[in-house]
Amino acid sequence: MIETRHLIKTFQDGDIETKVLKGIDFKAESGEFVAIMGRSGAGKSTLMYQMSLLDEPTSGEITINGRDAHAMSEKEKSQFRLQTFGYVFQDYALLPELSALENVALPLLMQGLSKERAETQAAQALARMGLSHRLGNLPGQLSGGEQQRVSISRAVAHDPAILFADEPTANLDRISSQSVMEIFQELHAKGQTIIMVTHEDEYGTLADRIIHLDDGRIVGAEKR
């Protein structure tokens, strides 16, 4: 489903060149739940940004459903992010002036759904996360756990092929974190492909497979 070959990402700051990814070969199959783990600065998030087409690698290949990402135009990448991917960010990344319902409905609208259909579908996605009573609330009126559930609703409302999650529990308390991870397990059980970056062993172990990253290289893999 998604594959990287000898992926390299280098950051240039004046004369200083920092190689963050040093040739990553990675593959995730459809329906798989993969956790990318490693200490801070290991390159986990950078790897996820490359795979999710939010960033451009310095070299190497990314293939998604057989398509070479390098050959895609910016417009195609944007379309891919809209239709094929779902994103859950560490800080929820909800628009503060949009209600929970509107935050979830917005990408559906961009996909061409009518406002009514988009909002119905968004309401259903939020209901699945147990947020039926919070549809009209703004992000500021929600707890961290609720905001993250809104974020997950937004990510999965359109049935994406791959769900990317970047440290989804980092800002949450233990109960909220567990609730988020339960949602991920439920989604996975229904066949959702998930690629999650985390530094918390407790949650990484819930994945089918764990990839350990250190200093920009894969240093280990565990199948569970």
Binding site: S78, R81, F85, P107
Partner: protein
């Protein structure tokens, strides 16, 4: 860029951003747009209105809609009585004022000046003989009394003096105009017109912003006829006011076709205004447009800064929007819609203030300029054109900063990297 889908998503975003943004910030931006709108319309409107006030005064106080005056070769309009009676029989004509006009000299110190070498306190002036009642009906001349009283039909040897002829009231020394010093209501003057001389008493001082009236002296027409020896009743000016809805130019042409042009010059009030006034009007309009343009640039910069700061502080969210697949164009459109909203709200409030308050208020209480009662000229088509200009420039001013932020790298925006 302007695909239906982008517009729909842009609208969805913009509407919610406007609805949930700080009310005070929204009110402040709309207030800036209101001031810009007023600057655009009112500055030009007042400058043009200043001159329009002269036109208006000319029409209402002096020439009416059409004026017939003596030919260059004559001091009077031949066949005046027949012309007046013809005019009064016409259904288009509301009222007329007929005036005898002659040039002469008014002397104020003729009694005290014993030595012929002493400097005289005299001035050259135009003298007008008027029917006080008909003239007042026509031009409301009595409203412009500065001191003393208006003429009565039975006044004998009494004059009204235009304020510019008196040093006490004039602007000061003006080229070609000598003023009378120490002359007040009740002062005696000796007037000389041709070979005729008469001692008259100043009954009142008249203050008009029409140059011609402010340097005239007025007498009752029956007295004036006797003074200048005009027994044929031929006057020098016939001013005609038409009923509303009649076109002065069409009426002028009608009179010309009626052969009246043989006896006098026929002009509409626009034509009778000195040509320099029209030039000043266009100069003022140009000045107004220049000042308004500066206002427009300032407003555009204001909106640019507002949208830029808004987009900059929301850079992370713009990045997230792009990250989750919302097209950059849709985000840009949302900012353009916000700019459109601010501009149209400011203009709408501006329209209410303009036509609901300023125009009627200034029409009722004209601005007292030294040479005109200034009104606010704001024709609706011009105002709409200015609104279109304001809205257009505001949309552009909103689009540019939004585009600048939207074009930044998506991931840098999300992570807040520079």
């Amino acid at each position: 860029m302007f695909s239906l889908l982008n517009i729909r998503v842009g609208w969805y975003l913009a509407l919610r951003q406007i609805r949930r943004s700080s009310r005070w910030a929204t009110v402040l931006i709309i207030f800036v747009m209101l001031l810009t709108f007023l600057n655009l319309v009112v500055v030009t409107g007042i400058l043009v209105g200043l001159i329009e006030g002269i036109n208006d005064s000319y029409r209402t106080q002096y020439v009416g809609d059409v004026i017939i005056s003596s030919l260059e070769t004559k001091n009077y309009i031949e066949n005046s009585p027949s012309i007046i009676s013809f005019l009064t029989s016409l259904p288009q004509v509301d009222r007329i004022a007929a005036r005898y006009v002659e040039s002469g000299v008014a002397d104020a110190n003729y009694k005290t000046r014993t030595d012929p070498n002493d400097k005289s306190n005299s001035t050259g002036a135009q003298f007008a003989g008027i029917d006080p009642i008909a003239e007042d009906r026509f031009s409301n001349l009595s409203r412009y009394m500065l001191e003393g009283e208006y003429l009565a039909p039975d006044d004998y040897d009494k004059v009204l003096v235009g304020h510019q002829l008196l040093s006490e009231y004039s602007f000061g020394d003006q080229p070609g105009l000598t003023t009378l010093k120490g002359v007040k209501v009740g002062s005696k003057l000796r007037i000389t017109i041709g070979s005729a001389q008469r001692e008259v008493t100043v009954k009142g001082v008249l203050k008009s912003k029409i140059g011609e009236l402010s340097v005239r002296m007025f007498m009752v027409d029956t007295q004036f006829r006797g003074l200048i020896g005009r027994s044929d009743y031929n006057v020098a000016e016939i001013a005609v006011k038409l009923h509303d809805g009649n076109d002065p130019a069409a009426f002028r042409d009608f009179l010309l076709n009626s052969d009246i042009g043989r006896f006098g010059k026929i002009k509409t009030f626009i034509e009778s205004i000195p040509p320099g006034v029209a030039d000043i009007k266009s100069t003022f309009a140009m000045l107004g447009n220049m000042i308004s343009s500066i206002g427009l640039v300032v407003a555009s910069i204001t909106i640019f800064i507002v949208i830029f700061i808004n987009a900059l502080t929301r850079r992370k969210f713009i990045g997230i929007l792009k990250g989750i697949g919302i097209k950059g164009e849709a985000i840009e459109i949302s900012y353009m819609i916000q700019s459109f909203f601010y501009a149209t709200c400011g203009s709408a409030v501006g329209l209410l203030v303009l036509y609901g308050v300023l125009v009627p208020l200034i029409a009722a209480h004209p601005i007292d300029f030294p040479f005109s009662d200034g009104i606010l000229v704001a024709p609706i088509p011009d105002t709409l054109a200015r609104i279109a200009l304001l809205v257009f420039s505001t949309i552009i001013a909103g689009y540019i900063p939004a585009r600048m932020i939207v074009r930044k790298n998506t991931l840098d925006s999300i992570l807040g990297r520079t």
